[in-house]
Symmetry: C2
C-alpha cells in the first residue's frame, strides 16, 4: 500500500480510502486507481482482518461433503457467501463430537465472523459470542435454526401415497434418538394418515441398531411373497434406496407392488433425475436463509426458526 501511495504521490490514508470506496477527491482517486492498476496491488486480507477484527469468513460445520445432500448444501452456501464477498472455512465433523469441539477452537483462532452448523452432537456447546446458525436442529430461541418444512413434507408424502391409491402404509427411518427437525417428518406423516383414515405402521431404528432390523420388519409383514404395505414413506432418500434394494431381494417390485417416497431430493450425479420419488428440500433457499441470517445476526432480532417449504417430485418409485 505504501508503494501505491508513493507511486500516486498521495498519503497512505488516501489509498486506503480509495480501496474502501470512501469519499475521495476525483483527481486523487484517479491517481490512486492508476497506481493500483500499474502495480497490480491487492489488499492483504490478514492486515485488514487484524485491524478491523472482521475476517469476512464464515465457518461451515458439516459432517462431510461426499454425501450428495451435504455436497449440494456446501455448494449453495458457498455461492451465497461469495455473492456477499465472504469466504467459507470448511469443517468436516464426520459425525464425531470430539472433532466438532476441536473445530470450535479452530474457529476461534481464525476469528470467523459467524458459524453455520449442521450437527448431530446433542451436547455441542454453542459459543455465545459468535453469530451461530444451525441447520435442522433447534437448540434454543437465541440460536436461529433453518430447516425445511419437515412436518409438511411428511404430511405431503402421506397424501401423495393416498392419492396414488395406497391402502396400507409404513414409515421407516434411521437416526439418532435426539429430537431434531427431521423427526417431524414422522409426525407429519402420521397426522395425514390419521386424517385420511389411512392405516400405517412405523419402524424407527436408533443409532447403533443393525440395518437387518428393517429386513426383519419387512419379512414380518410379508405373506406368500407379498408385502402387506403398498406404500412406504422413508426418512431419507438414501435409506429409501437401501430399502428398495432389500425389497428387490425378495422379489417385490417398486413401484408395481409397493410405492416408495423418500426425503431430501437427491439426484443422480447431483444433476440428473431424482434417485427415488421424494420430498425435495429447498437447498438453495436453505443456504440463502442461513447466510443472510448469520450475517445479520448482530442487528434486529431474527426469528429463531426459519421453516422453508418443500415440494414433491416423482422419481420412478411411484406410479405417477
Amino acid at each position: 500500500m505504501a508503494d501505491v501511495a508513493r507511486e500516486a504521490g498521495v498519503a497512505l490514508g488516501t489509498v486506503s480510502r480509495v480501496i474502501n470506496g470512501q469519499q475521495v477527491g476525483e483527481k486523487y482517486r484517479k491517481r490512486v486507481e492508476k497506481a493500483v492498476e500499474k502495480l497490480g496491488y491487492q489488499y492483504n486480507s490478514s492486515g485488514r482482518a487484524l485491524r478491523t477484527d472482521r475476517t469476512n469468513t464464515i465457518a461451515l460445520i458439516i459432517p462431510n461433503t461426499y454425501n450428495p445432500y451435504f455436497g449440494l448444501l456446501v455448494h449453495h452456501i458457498n455461492l451465497e457467501l461469495e455473492k456477499r464477498n465472504k469466504k467459507v472455512l470448511l469443517c468436516f465433523s464426520g459425525y464425531d463430537r470430539n472433532r466438532e469441539e476441536e473445530y470450535i477452537r479452530l474457529v476461534r483462532q481464525n476469528r470467523v465472523d459467524g458459524i453455520i452448523a449442521l450437527t448431530y452432537n446433542p451436547e455441542l456447546v454453542i459459543p455465545e459470542d459468535i453469530p451461530f446458525v444451525t441447520i435442522d436442529r433447534f437448540f434454543s430461541v437465541s440460536v436461529p435454526c433453518v430447516a425445511s418444512d419437515n412436518f409438511g413434507g411428511g404430511y405431503m408424502a402421506a397424501r401423495k401415497l393416498a392419492e396414488l391409491g395406497c391402502r396400507k402404509t409404513a414409515f421407516l427411518r434411521t437416526g439418532s434418538t435426539l429430537t431434531n427437525e427431521p423427526s417431524k417428518r414422522k409426525e407429519g406423516f402420521i397426522s395425514a394418515c390419521v386424517e385420511l383414515g389411512l392405516p400405517y405402521e412405523v419402524k424407527a431404528l436408533d443409532d447403533g441398531m443393525p440395518f437387518s432390523d428393517f429386513e426383519d420388519f419387512l419379512t414380518d409383514h410379508m405373506s406368500g411373497g407379498k408385502l402387506e404395505f403398498d406404500g412406504l414413506f422413508i426418512g431419507t432418500d438414501m435409506l429409501a434406496w437401501r430399502i428398495i434394494q432389500l425389497l428387490k431381494k425378495y422379489g417385490i417390485r417398486v413401484p408395481e407392488d409397493v410405492q416408495v417416497i423418500g426425503f431430501d431430493g437427491i439426484r443422480m450425479f447431483g444433476e440428473l433425475e431424482y434417485v427415488v420419488s421424494t420430498i425435495v428440500q429447498p437447498v438453495q433457499e436453505i443456504a440463502e436463509a442461513c447466510v443472510s441470517t448469520v450475517l445479520s445476526r448482530h442487528l434486529s432480532n431474527v426469528p429463531s426458526l426459519i421453516c422453508l417449504p418443500v415440494r414433491y417430485a416423482p422419481g420412478g418409485t411411484t406410479r405417477d
Copy 2:
C-alpha cells in the same frame, strides 16, 4: 497474548515461544501454559499471518461440489490438509473462465500458501509466485500435475471387457477438445484392443455437441433391435449412466446384452455400491499427492507428473 504474559509474569516473547513449541525454561513454560489455560487464550491467525506471511491456507479451485466425484475429492483434500493444520479456501469455478480468473485475484488477497486446481480453462494463467498443483491437466514441467493412471485405466477396461467375453466394443466420451490426462483413457483402451485383436469403435462428443449424437450413433449400430456392440467403455460413470438409460429406452439390457464399464468410481450416495462397473480413481491418494506436493513445493524439485494406479470394481453393469 499480552494478558497471558501478564498473568504468567513473563514477557511477550516468552509466551510466543511457548505457543510455538520452542525452547523455553521448564518453569516458564509451565507458568505460561497455566495462564493460557486459565484465560482460554487462542492465538489470532490474522496476526500470525501478517507477521509470518504464511496463512496456512491452500486454495482449492474446483468446478463444484455437488458432482459426487468432486465432492469426494474436496472431502479428501480437506482431510489431508487438516492433518497438516492447514485450511482450505474453496473456489467454485462452475466451469467458468471468468470466475477462475476472478479467483486468482481472491487468492492473492488472501495470500494463500498454495493452489490446487482442477480446471478446464485452456487459457488459465498460472501465477508463478504461488505453489500450484493441478489435477488431471498437464500445463508444463514447472507445474506439477496429479492424475490417476488414465491410460492404464482404459487399458484395464478393454482387457476386462475381453475377459468377460466381449467380441465387439466401443468407447464413448464427452468433454472438451483440449488434451488433458483423462484423454488418455481412450488411448489406453485402443491400445489394449489392438493388442488383443478386439474390434472397437470410438464416438467422442466435443463440448457443445448435443447428447442426441450418442443416440444416433447407437441406433446406427443397431439392427433388428440388437446392438452390435457387446461391450462399452465410457469416459465417465455419469455418462455411462446416461447411456444405460438410453439403451433401456431401446429395450437393450445391461449387462445381459451389452456390458458397460465407466470411469471414476462413483458410489450411490457417496458410500454405498458403485453406480456402474467402473475404473476407480484413487481419490484418497490423489488428495494426498496434491497436498504433499503443494506444501513441499518450495524445496526439492518435485516430479512434474504424478500418476496413480487405478483399479477395477464391478457395479452390476458387467457379468462378473
